[in-house]
Symmetry: C2
Subunit: 197 residues, 2 copies
DNA sequence: TCATCATAGTCAAGAAACTGAGTAATCAGA
DNA sequence: TCTGATTACTCAGTTTCTTGACTATGATGA
């Protein structure tokens, strides 16, 4: 029972970029949100989200309302109930579980001394390129979130700083991803050419 | 089937700090290794490791040998077989799965605008302190791994650079952890005092 | 006009991971 | 001498996650 809190957090922090009432998402929108912002600290597939929303609704932690649409399939919009907020408060006050990571590329690098590093080098460089793209994306997202304020000002007086702060972390993480990837690729490359002599 | 590769990587990169033959670990030692080095990119509990070793042995990817001890309970030492290495090579050459993260604290920060930030601030500061301790630890581990060489030299000519490189990443990650944690704690603290006025 | 993308979901099987407990011996310190 | 830590591992039950479908409709672009 941990995904539930990520879902509640996503709903609570729900953006209002569409002009909709904030804090309300359909399952589909939630899946989108998980793809961009929430992915910085939680990974989940759409099917899981739909399932989790159903569970949360049954327990009264979120409330769904049907929205009939003409040009699009109908949908259900979910918001956090008072009980849901209470549940989240309790979670926020409790000791956090240790964060955890799973990273295929690092597994490969760990064994770099025992395997052919050729493909790994390529993957590292691809990863670095992807990270670079994300860095730019995050830059834009952050600029949009803070509007015309500069970062200091925004963090002091802006509203909705939660997603901003987690996005900052995502940005830092991607920078690290890129830098480490390039560094390791360079090191492994040099050792390959040395080896070949 | 993903833990298996982390286990193989750990065995392949197995340290020889005990003077033992390298690339050989007992389940218990493996669990230790997962606690320190491997934890930088893969999280797993001892029970999972024992189970995975059993599976890997049944499939012939690792081979175990009994070691009778007098002062301690007997144990089984595992090493990667040729088939295991082939399996790992295939994994290393295949496209990596997207890395994934789960972080309770970031979930809490995401919803910072909707909940009481008091406990979260404390947790952030605790986390920063823990990160600081890990930073120092990693510093020592790295120094030990590279011996009397400096980093450049070691990465060019040292053997067993795999664990070193992943440890570098762990170090960078912990620094980021610490810096972000302190920054966010400071921001949230200031907003609380402002709010109280 | 045809294909593909985006919206908006649902379902079920199987793999993987987590929880929590238990066993048993030795050693170090109060 | 008793406690707690360390070594070494096992088992069962449950939850969670992943995989790979499948259903619809409207919009977009070639």
């Amino acid at each position: 029972m941990a995904l539930r809190h990520a879902v509640l957090a996503a709903l609570l922090a729900g953006d209002s970029s569409d002009g909709d009432d904030s804090g309300e998402y359909s399952g589909y929108q939630l899946a989108k949100a998980f793809d961009i912002g929430v992915a910085n600290f939680w990974h989940a597939l759409p099917q899981q989200l739909y399932a989790e929303l159903a569970k949360l609704e049954k327990e009264g932690l979120v409330a769904g309302r049907h929205v009939v649409q003409e040009t699009r399939p109908n949908k259900r919009m979910f918001r956090v109930t008072r009980a849901g907020l209470a549940e989240f408060e309790a979670f926020a006050a409790a000791a956090p579980k240790a964060s955890f990571i799973r990273d295929d590329l690092m597994v490969k690098v760990q064994a770099a001394d025992s395997v052919d590093t050729g493909p790994v080098i390529e993957q590292l460089e691809e990863q670095a390129a992807l990270a670079e793209a994300k860095i730019e994306l995050f830059g834009k997202v952050l600029r949009k979130m803070r509007g015309e304020l500069d970062e200091e000002e925004f963090l002091r007086r802006g509203d909705r700083i939660g997603p901003y702060l987690t996005c900052l972390r995502g940005l830092a993480h991607e920078r690290e991803n890129r830098d480490w990837g390039l560094r390791v690729a360079a090191v492994l490359r040099e050792r390959r050419t040395d080896e070949a002599r």
